[in-house]
């Protein structure tokens, strides 16, 4: 079968690889009908995430049709159309029973690697390094889904792939970013990053009662998209961001700041330059410009919610600001399983729609080109869907 393989930094290729097999009774094999490139795939593409091996199959946003099920999967049948959450969760451990599926105790066969870096291991993730399970990803014709009796959700024919595909990651990720910030009616919410996660965090903040949402980015097409959905927008390359945010909030600062950027943040000024140099010589692993700005901008006693992925060690993060302003920090990989059903209902009602941000459809064979377009934001690219 064909699959997109990581062959080195900024080098991905579509290769002919062996087909996946059922390895455990609770496995299923899914024939992928649509798979998206996530912003966090760009962290892999750029070589920011350790323990990726040449030849690894990428992709964690995918959906398709069940073609084989293991003996222990009683709730799925061959032919079922499913969406698959990006974290792999056993459904039985204390974390899964507590609806904290991205922290599953049992789904990462390489837990010891994650323990070395994080102290404890989170759940395994499709196509996201050996440290997070070493599972082959979904940017392929076929993919093995472990614990298939827990993760995949059946989808009826009335909804298209484009409407529901992003429920596998970015829609719940944007939702969780807003929900975990405990937004109150009337709150002002500032969102760093108007990419796919930022766009859905924006919608979620509005649905949860925010009076004003401010989207911050430098890409004009993404800011226009946010503006169309009722957000105030700020291009951080054109304004003094901290001053502008104070002006928009009567000097208080936003009640909630959401970092939907993560470890490859761009920025202006000496600290952004410092991050560039420090990450390029590996003195730090992540560029923290967006988080730094969010911590400084947030009002006293406010909440900073982190949805963008961070993988390692950050420098020049103003924890003093967070401490002295009494900020509440919320973060984490998305507990997709928790949100699938309620957000599917919102998709069905038309409150959330993946089609609004999908800008490109390309065949899997053109995935290397798609990665470049997405990374460079060429052709007003916000989201690419690949069709195997």
């Amino acid at each position: 079968m064909k699959a997109l393989c990581w062959m080195g930094r900024e080098d991905v290729r579509v290769e002919e690889v062996p087909e996946p097999q059922i390895l455990n009774p609770r496995d299923a094999i899914v024939r992928v009908t649509s798979t998206a490139i996530c912003g966090s795939d760009l962290h892999l593409y750029g070589g920011f995430i350790p323990t990726l091996e040449r030849g690894d199959v990428l992709g964690h946003e995918f959906m398709g049709e069940i073609v084989e099920v293991g003996a222990g999967v009683g709730n799925l049948e061959v032919g079922d159309r499913v969406i698959v959450p990006f974290p792999i969760a056993c459904g039985s451990c204390w974390y899964c029973r507590s609806d904290l599926h991205s922290l599953c105790d049992n789904s990462n066969p390489n837990a010891w690697m994650a323990e070395e870096l994080f102290g404890h291991s989170p759940a395994g993730i499709f196509g996201y390094s050996h440290m997070l399970g070493g599972y082959a990803g979904g940017q392929a014709e076929l993919v093995r889904v472990p614990f298939a009796d827990v993760g995949p959700l059946k989808i009826g024919p009335e909804l298209s792939d484009d409407q529901v595909l992003l429920l596998t990651d970015v829609i719940p990720t944007g939702w969780m970013a807003a929900e975990q910030a405990d937004i109150q009616t009337g709150d002002v919410v500032a969102i760093w990053g108007a990419g796919p996660v930022g766009q859905f965090a924006l919608r979620a903040a509005q649905l949860l009662g925010a009076s004003t949402v401010i989207a911050i980015d430098r890409v004009a097409s993404r800011l226009r998209m946010a503006q169309r959905h009722g957000a105030e927008v700020l291009n951080y390359q054109e304004v003094k961001l901290q001053t502008a945010l104070r002006d928009l909030t009567g000097g208080r600062g936003p009640d909630v700041c959401i970092d939907a950027v993560g470890l490859e943040a761009h920025g202006t000024g000496p600290l952004a330059l410092y991050d560039r140099v420090a990450t390029s010589v590996r003195f730090e692993t992540d560029r923290s410009t967006a988080l730094r700005e969010a911590l400084l901008a947030c009002r006293k006693g406010g909440t900073v919610s982190i949805a963008g992925v961070y993988g390692g060690y950050l420098d020049k993060v103003p924890l003093g600001a967070a401490f002295n302003k009494g900020l509440r920090l919320r973060m984490g990989q998305t507990h997709v399983h928790r949100y699938l059903r309620p957000l599917l209902e919102r998709v069905t009602r038309g409150e959330l729609d993946g089609r609004e941000i999908i800008t490109h459809h390309m065949p899997l064979e053109q995935a290397p080109e798609a990665y470049q377009i997405f990374r460079d934001k060429e052709d007003e690219c916000t989201k690419v869907v690949l069709q195997p």
């Binding site: 699959a3 290769e15 609770r26 091996e53 049992n106 390489n110």
Partner: protein
């Protein structure tokens, strides 16, 4: 690990000499000499060696035990029952096979070229858990003790595993010397145990699709498959 006065003085002097020599060379060997010399100076001044701590070597007899704990969402009875059925969870990278006859276990293990067998008497403990006592002289392990405690918040049981290497044999001394590796192996075994009990299977990711691997990965995988 503490050092006497004479040893401290010699350490400090030797360290200073190495640092000077390293500073003169200014190449890789020089940097290594500076690192080694600095360690000896610290040992001389502080009277304590950093090496055992850095390499995670045991610094005293009481650190001989290798201990790991894991919380398992199950009752003491279920945990003890699975512990007494090791064929379901013990085989892995290190353990090739387990046979159980009554209270006696025979475990065939291998770590690279090092292979051996371990025979033990395994007895369940009142209230849950087991104690395994070696019947093999100069083997890697003297004993393994598994204690169970009720975990808070209905999380099941806290399972504390204490492994005592047999320091009379080379295998046991190696295990003790590389306790960091041994702790990781024990942790991996406990994770497999928990997976079997909580999910009914062991999480696996091999074999699975992948593209062309790098040269080193190909060699490692070929050796793994051959073994």
């Amino acid at each position: 690990m503490t050092a006497g006065d004479v040893e401290r003085t010699v350490s400090a002097m030797a360290g200073a000499a190495l640092v000077v020599r390293g500073a003169v060379r200014r190449d890789l060997a020089g940097w290594l000499a500076i690192a080694a010399g600095s360690t000896l100076i610290v040992r001389g001044v502080a009277g304590k060696s950093l090496v055992p701590r850095t390499l995670a070597l045991p610094a005293a007899a009481e650190e001989a035990e290798i201990v790991r704990s894991v919380t398992v969402g199950a009752t003491p009875e279920a945990i003890t029952s699975l512990l007494l059925d090791p064929s379901k969870w013990l085989p892995g990278e290190v353990v090739a096979a387990v046979s159980v006859v009554g209270e006696r276990w025979r475990v065939d293990y291998g770590l690279g070229p090092l292979r051996g067998e371990w025979e033990a008497t395994v007895r369940p403990q009142p209230g849950g858990g087991v104690v395994a006592t070696s019947e093999t002289e100069r083997s890697a392990l003297q004993s393994i003790e598994v204690e169970l405690l009720e975990a808070p918040d209905a999380r099941g049981c806290e399972m504390r595993v204490c492994v005592m290497p047999d320091r009379s044999g080379i295998a046991g001394r190696s295990l003790q010397a590389f306790r960091g590796v041994a702790e990781r192996m024990l942790g991996h075994a406990l994770q497999r145990f928990r997976q079997v009990l909580e999910t009914g299977e062991v999480a696996r990711n091999e074999p699975q699709p992948h593209g062309r691997r790098g040269a080193l990965a190909r060699v490692v995988r070929a050796r793994r498959e051959a073994s």
